[in-house]
């Protein structure tokens, strides 16, 4: 089959013919229809320090996808050939104390598809049946293919108390834009979104942001709409140090900062004034809660209260991987997807 492969310890992906995966008896084989391209894929493409320390070529890349089940292992009871599905890309051990107490999203034994084992930028992928999530009839493969990053956004938003809240979203990459739309659907009373890029801000506006502003305007905007007090919740989606400091400065005392953005290096934090004396709660967001987050995605999509369609701005065939990576690097894209089949 056709697959995008990280072939060697060097930049770039290679479109290759590789053998179709075989499945274990508790796995299913899925024909990939759509696959999302993510910043993580860019790191692997560029072969940066993180990628060099984690990824062992050769490996099929890609971890966001949707498709049709074509084969199921002998022990699989709840997934059938022909089912329209997506899947959680974090394969956890399922038996450690964290997995057994509702914290699979931080399972220490997590292996990620497209990073630690073969991924989804390919015509077929093998997945454990326990990772499969059925798509509602109302959900297209396009949207199914981006459940992974949407799930990051749902996890970020729904672990805060959103109904009636004032929210600042710092960083309007695809996950930030999703988060804006989820906040809107979940009843935030004011959503202020910031980014340096006007195209992204326009998408945030379309997803329901009340205010879209450049970073330099955030403070004044927050003060104006919160009687000077600060917002109840900040969703930090950028990883930019100045945005992190804004998050701590502009959340109200006793408020909550959800951190999903990943700074590339350490940030100087003044714990006294930025966290302790403000009585803040700071929450680190990793992955998606299994599978509360996935259930919520299905609910929000099925009802139509959240429609991420506008966030998909670019579509490519697997053959145009370089173009897809380039589109993300441009900093102006919403979500970039591969149309695999």
């Amino acid at each position: 089959m056709k697959a995008l492969v990280k072939a060697s310890a060097a930049p770039g992906f290679e479109l290759r013919n590789v053998p179709e995966p075989t499945i274990r008896e508790d796995e299913v084989l899925i024909r990939v229809r759509r696959a999302g391209v993510c910043g993580t894929d860019v790191h692997i493409y560029d072969w940066d320090a993180w990628a060099r320390g984690r990824v062992k070529p050769p490996i099929v890349v890609g971890h966001e996808f949707a498709g049709e089940v074509v084969e199921v292992g002998r022990l699989v009871t709840d997934v059938h050939a022909g089912d329209r599905v997506t899947a959680e890309g974090h394969i956890v051990d399922g038996r450690c104390l964290l997995c057994r107490t509702g914290n699979s999203h931080v399972c220490p034994y997590t292996r990620i598809i497209g990073v630690d084992r073969d991924g989804c930028f390919a015509e077929y992928i093998a997945m454990p049946a326990t990772n499969v999530w059925h798509l509602d009839d109302a959900v297209s493969f396009d949207i199914g293919g981006i459940h992974d990053p949407m799930g990051n956004a749902f996890h970020t938003v729904l672990t805060a108390e959103i109904p009636g809240a004032t929210v600042l979203v710092t960083g309007c990459g695809p996950i930030g834009i999703f988060a804006v739309g989820i906040c809107k659907a979940a009843g935030a009373s004011r959503i202020i979104a910031s980014d340096v890029n006007d195209t992204r801000l326009a998408l945030a506006k379309r997803m329901g942001a009340h205010d879209i502003v450049q970073p330099s305007e955030v403070e004044e905007t927050v003060r104006r709409h919160t009687e000077g007090l600060g917002v109840d919740v900040v969703l930090e989606m950028s990883g930019v140090p100045s945005a992190i400091h804004q998050a701590f400065a502009l959340v109200r005392v006793g408020g909550r900062v959800q951190m999903l953005g990943i700074p590339s290096k350490p940030v100087d934090v003044d714990f006294a004034t930025e966290i302790v004396f403000k009585g803040l709660t700071v929450y680190g967001v990793v992955g998606r809660r299994m599978y509360d987050t996935w259930l919520m995605m299905t609910r929000f999509l099925r009802s139509g209260q959240f429609d991420p369609t506008p966030v998909i701005t670019h579509r490519f065939p697997l053959e145009a991987a370089d173009d897809a990576i380039h589109a993300i690097k441009s900093g102006t894209a919403g979500k970039v997807i591969f149309e695999v089949a």
Copy 2:
């Protein structure tokens, strides 16, 4: 001044001239502009068993209102003459263990205006400054005048987890209809509303219910939209025994039932099958959380995400008290208000 008075231990209200209230140094005097009429007022009007046991005539009735501050006591610092306000009608002691630990809504020393002391169906009312809540510029006196029952609905809805939830609202009196709209604004993914009255169901539809059904159709409707499992949350707003049993039957295992409706007599509960084996959480809703609920009302109204205007179906002057009571008793009214000034 003009006031509706429960003059004696007998049915009916009387429009009388009574002295204007005087205020203590920690109170404010408010010129009433709008006042909501409530089922509690009907009980007092009818002089039923509950009223006979609780109310001591003569007393000015009415507990829902909004108006303008005309005078403030010497110790009041945060309310000023001319302020547009509404008020929490439960006057609590503020010093008991419950009040001091965030549970004023169940303060054992609560005195209710229009029930235990003079109320708001009058041109002026005296209120402790601590009970006053400022109206946002965007909120009319009409809406200000119904904050008390809206607050019951907000309390009911926002103490459940609503974003993405499937919700059944049993009983579409004004508070039930408000609750439908709040669920919609707070991101419920499916709202099923039931009542015997089509006018009320039409209001529930207008406020955002996905399905409006007669009680006989509730079970089938819930099963269809929840894969047979039941809803995540039931808001029981009717107090009707059959609806209470439906609540326990149609909430999913592990779900939540919020009980605001007041049955007029004991109900036979099969704890084994209705509550324990289902792993339910049942929550009794009394009053409004002070003042989290009020802050949420301001947030939802200011943003425009919730607009209760359609729920107000009848308006009367104080002189037409009998007509107002009659409108409520008809069972088809939404919210009935007095236009006092």
Copy 3:
């Protein structure tokens, strides 16, 4: 092997020789060392209405046990021959929406060992590996054998907020007595335990109750130790209608009632005064949270902060099943166990 069998649709158990169970590839075979006898076993023994509606003879009975693993299926990775283990007796499907979102304890597809499939009053039992829980070195087979009912008690206690709380425990059967000890270990500031039986009250005292009282003395005792306000939390472990009414009457406004006891028939509830106007939260306790409750058991036992040893009052061989059942029916026993091997 030797096993206690519900042989036919009639009262009693029969000690029989039956074939050793065979295991599937995801199961393990456990040699039973200790097994707890439970009220549910009494129902099956007596062949009452509930048992007649649920149990299909012939079946090996018993659902509480501990033992040693003697064989593991090919797919089992985290359990090994020789491991000292106990097991969750509720076998859930693991794939339904409830199981996938942290609510396995109310999985609608639950099958219970000793009720819906062969149980543990036998020399060997087959269990799915996912249901197995390892015993800490510090935990004996005696204590391992009663993890199921202890787990009910842990679930009941730890889903309330116990540190510093005043607690009333109505009903001092084994689970109630366990609950007293868990409350003590978890920092309750006052524990009042009630029962009609002095032997059981003496056990409650030994496990840490501050006050042990007859039902007739509960009200006065609660009033005295709560400044007349009522307790923060009631653990209703009796299923007796009068105790349920006491629970609602003696919990403070805004308090919490955990219901584990199962009344044999419907109870008249005055929702207005017993639940709604008091602003209560009522929680139905079913099974054990999987596997948060189990982790907590290990923690409390390993640290020594909770020692249930005194609760085990009777020990029998499988041959003395009639005596074991009789001991429970006497109403004075703590926990009754079988010493199987």
Copy 4:
């Protein structure tokens, strides 16, 4: 009356005769019996940068105390002459949105006694009646006099989930030592306490720590007692940068870090590895929750489950202020108190 005064913008305190305070009609006058000395007092004594920016001499210092009420204002209804009391030293406005929604501990308008207005190192102090907390008969003035720092510890501990938890306490100053004892009373299953000072570690041991270790031994100790996973909760009470990094490193994935210690300058945080990828929750602790924390203190003290007596290691008269400050600076003291009367 006699009082310790920060007389001018220079190091030291001065014992002076000053006029007795007069009270407003909503205040009470308290005869001080015991007063705790705190690190904050040392900052003011030393006249460091923080003190120079905040304190306006001349001012009576001290913010922790207990005593007897000698006079009450005309509007005060629930405090009487002769009452044995302590008081919350943070005087909040009581009317802002934070105060009205249960977050007085972060009221932006807080004024602290002994910092922003006259304090308690004096024979008498005036306090708003709303700040007064009655001492239970079982609680001595000694213990009453240290409710403020004990309250910091209770706030820190009880906003985490402690029953059954494994806990690391970094820093065994008085608040850290209190926290150890509260964790013990609230059912922590393992408490590891670290400090550089052996005297303080001995106190931590006496209050219930299972393991007392030097900072260099923390990692190994945590790994050993948590199967290598890390503790559920860290209470960071030191403000030392290396301890903060230990907190993030040694809490388990998905765990919680409660931050009370105040670093004197910014700390480099690697958000990716220390917070985000670990899925942590970090909570900044400021003051005491009003008045949930105070109720819990009374509960824990009245029951005897927590006894802070051993933490008080030094007692001085007001005349020996220099000695008291010196004792704290020595780094080996537990709690230092003044015996005022």
